[in-house]
Symmetry: C2
Subunit: 203 residues, 2 copies
């Protein structure tokens, strides 16, 4: 255990406790940005939510702006797209719907995406950062796995439906979507996404 901790410290240059504090701050920042928007959130509120001293937030992340910039890469893990694509394009629409809807109903990635969306909506610079990461880590890998015409447009069409569900359910809060069973939404949105991904586009 001591050796593990030592190896970890050598590898990252950080003590394990520091990593825990960093993760706690990142998670708290996403919660706070998501619930209240970029402007209303203070370093103090993030520190309080994370159970650390405000000075530690500044030590790890610098300004609120640079903290946000660091968070943009937090929720989008390349393995997500890889895993969804692994069984092939058949059924991909439904797998994609199931993953995103599951996340919107309480997953960590969903919380983070809603937090980023809220912040991007109010801050053009945040929107630009989100677009760069979104295109590089989600849209392009998904497009590359499609082997169809206009793969980037197809991936973007899926994004437009899934982002819209996030906004309609989590930001505006339209009651029929908020109240719908996840399985029902998967069955409705799966075929829409599959059409965007693999069917002939009327172009």
């Amino acid at each position: 255990m001591a050796n593990d901790a030592l190896r970890r410290q050598r590898r990252t240059g950080r003590r394990p406790g520091e990593n825990r504090s960093r993760d706690a701050i990142a998670a708290a920042a996403l919660r706070q940005f998501g619930a209240r928007g970029f402007d209303a959130v203070t370093i103090r509120a993030i520190a309080q939510d994370a159970g650390v001293d405000p000075a530690l937030v500044l030590h790890f992340f610098g300004t609120k702006q640079s903290l946000f910039e660091g968070l943009v890469q937090f929720p989008i893990e390349p393995w997500v797209v890889e895993k969804l694509l692994a069984p092939g394009v058949e059924g991909l629409g439904e797998r994609l719907a199931r993953f995103v809807i599951g996340q919107l109903r309480g997953g960590e990635v969903g919380e983070a995406m809603v937090g980023l969306l809220r912040t991007a909506a109010a801050h053009p610079r945040a929107a630009e950062l989100l677009r760069e990461r979104y295109v590089r880590d989600l849209l392009e890998p998904l497009a590359a796995g499609l082997k169809a015409d206009r793969p980037e447009l197809r991936a973007s069409l899926c994004s437009s439906q899934l982002l819209g569900l996030a906004v309609a359910e989590r930001i505006i809060g339209l009651p029929p979507l908020v109240e719908a069973e996840p399985d029902v939404l998967v069955k409705i949105y799966g075929p829409t996404l599959q059409r965007y991904l693999t069917e002939t586009l009327p172009i």
Copy 2:
């Protein structure tokens, strides 16, 4: 002309010049909220954009908060849904897509909706106001015109796709959507909306 102006003044209790200033302030506020988000916008910036004195903004609208609350009813006109529904449900998906996509590419209603969306994303109270108006003035009238099972869910599904297009194109700015011809998007999204509106839902 003088009589018209007089009648107008009697009817509204305002001089025509006042109405023009009010409209100019409302339009400027939506532009400013849309471009920069609620928090970053000042009464002074709105006044400057509208070409009026800041005192006039406060005179007409009171605080920035009450100005925003007044704007929520601005873009959503009941005649929009009536007009889209008038020819019946056949082709409604395409008409709805054409209207919204046209607005997103430069219409006044589109600008206003993007401005409201940006503000709602960062401000829970704004989101609540937007939801109330959205449900009352768009979702319920659309649902009432469908004569199908689960009309509110169907109208909400359409909203989720159209809001998502607004977010993906105008807020995040995904290049394949930004660069697509409006007619192409109408042909792609029309059938999705039509399916949500009239086809059997897999529930």
